[in-house]
């Protein structure tokens, strides 16, 4: 259990809601594995996940509806295992095996 060095990918669940799913081919839920280390060899964090989603998963060309100034755009909440990412260290949160990461766009209709 303690010698986890040989694992090089982390299985996670990513979800989109509040309309964001439309940017991701109408997929609301994705189960996949992400590299355990980022480009610099550091533990993968949420910032790395956001870059990964933008570069590899998102087919929609309107990247600025998801990412702005290198982070998720204003109006999107990032929730790590059903808690606001502000409680978990924001984009520096290091991804753990089995994490559920939910991106929600705020709604404004009424």
């Amino acid at each position: 259990m303690s010698a986890a060095s040989s694992e090089d990918v982390i299985p996670i669940t990513v979800e989109f809601s509040g309309g964001l799913e439309m940017l991701f081919s109408n997929q609301r839920k994705l189960d996949f594995s992400i590299a355990a280390k980022d480009e610099s060899g550091l533990n993968s964090n949420v910032a790395f996940l956001v870059r990964y989603l933008c570069d590899n998963v998102m087919k929609d060309p309107r990247k600025d509806l998801f990412v702005l100034d290198d982070t998720v755009r204003p109006g999107i909440l990032v929730l790590i295992n059903d808690a606001d990412w502000e409680l978990e260290g924001e984009d520096k949160y290091e991804i753990q095996k089995g994490d559920n990461i939910l991106f929600v766009s705020t709604l404004h209709g009424g």
């Binding site: 809601s17 509040g18 309309g19 964001l20 439309m22 940017l23 609301r28 309107r62 600025d64 509806l65 702005l68 755009r73 204003p74 109006g75 999107i76 909440l77 929730l79 059903d82 808690a83 606001d84 502000e86 409680l87 939910l102 929600v104 766009s105 705020t106 709604l107 404004h108 209709g109 009424g110």
Partner: protein, 295 residues
């Protein structure tokens, strides 16, 4: 003169008996409801069901603010209005229905769109505010006003098949007090890009989706009032509803007040003076509203 023995009138025991007998409400809760004033901002898909259940429960005074008139396209979800009242002011149409449901409530109409010039004067007369509006600009204005006047805010929104609900600024402690509940700016410090904002007119909305969120706003308001304002012990949370997902409801733990929030922290720049002088241009802040083929 003989002292009044019963704290409620006989008809009130009859009308509210089913909720009076519950330990969560009781006589104390019913008296708190009767002596409270609640403002519903926006009398559309959220405001209609919210106001109906607040009136039913016996809230003493209900204020309704909306500058729009009833349109036929509203009727699939705005259940206080009616076909024969198309073109009437929404506020008047809603009050006609509400009076018929419960004539003992005092209804206060405001036939205008909420603006920074009038917000504080109106909000000051109410104990709890419901945000039932549909633009980012109004959501920031309402939250800022609630923080400045120390009022709890029950905020909901809906679009297409989804809804969101938050109780903000609860307990409604003064700006700078970290024990107060987070405000809208704590959760969303910056407004979304205008191109990402979609209205119900453009994106569509399923009636019972927005209806569910409106009824839940009434419920949270009744919980706040009957418990006694200032006494919240519930941790801040966001309820997500997605009608076609499984599970359909999900509760998210939210952050507490943000140490550098521009509205509710010790360093707040959103002051009464700034708001009243018009130097906070909410429409400008949120960008021009021209939802194109965006989210």
């Amino acid at each position: 003169k003989v002292a009044k023995i019963w704290p409620l009138d006989k008809h009130e025991y009859r009308r509210y008996g089913r909720q009076l007998i519950m330990s969560e409400i009781g006589l104390t809760g019913q008296l708190r409801l009767r002596s409270s004033a609640v403002l519903v901002v926006g009398v559309g898909g959220l405001g209609c069901p919210a106001a109906a259940y607040l009136a039913g429960a016996g809230v003493g005074t209900i204020g309704l603010i909306d500058g729009d008139t009833v349109e036929e396209s509203n009727l699939h979800r705005q259940i206080l209005h009616s076909t024969e009242r198309v073109d009437m002011a929404k506020v008047d149409s809603a009050i006609a229905s509400l009076k018929s449901l419960n004539p003992t409530v005092k209804y206060v109409p405001y036939h205008k769109r909420l603006t920074a010039e009038i917000a504080l004067d109106i909000f000051d007369q109410y104990d709890v505010i419901l945000d039932c509006t549909d633009t980012p600009a109004s959501r920031y204005l309402i939250s800022d006003s609630c923080v400045l006047l120390e009022k709890p805010l029950v905020s909901a929104s809906a679009l297409r098949t989804e809804g969101q609900l938050m109780v903000l600024n609860n307990p409604p402690l003064p700006a700078g007090n970290a024990q107060g509940g987070p405000c809208y700016r704590c959760v969303f410090p910056k407004p979304p890009p205008a191109a990402s904002v979609v209205s119900c007119g453009d994106g569509g909305i399923l009636g019972p989706v927005v209806g569910t969120m409106g009824v839940l706003q009434a419920l949270e308001t009744i919980k706040i009032i009957t418990k006694g304002i200032q006494r919240s012990s519930e941790p801040p949370s966001l309820l997500l509803f997605s009608a076609f997902s499984n599970p359909p409801f999900r509760s998210i733990r939210l952050r507490t007040r943000k140490a550098k929030c521009s509205a509710c922290s010790a360093q707040a720049t959103v002051t009464r003076e700034a708001l009243e002088s018009g130097s906070l241009d909410y429409v400008q802040f949120c960008g021009a509203v021209s939802p194109i083929d965006a989210l």
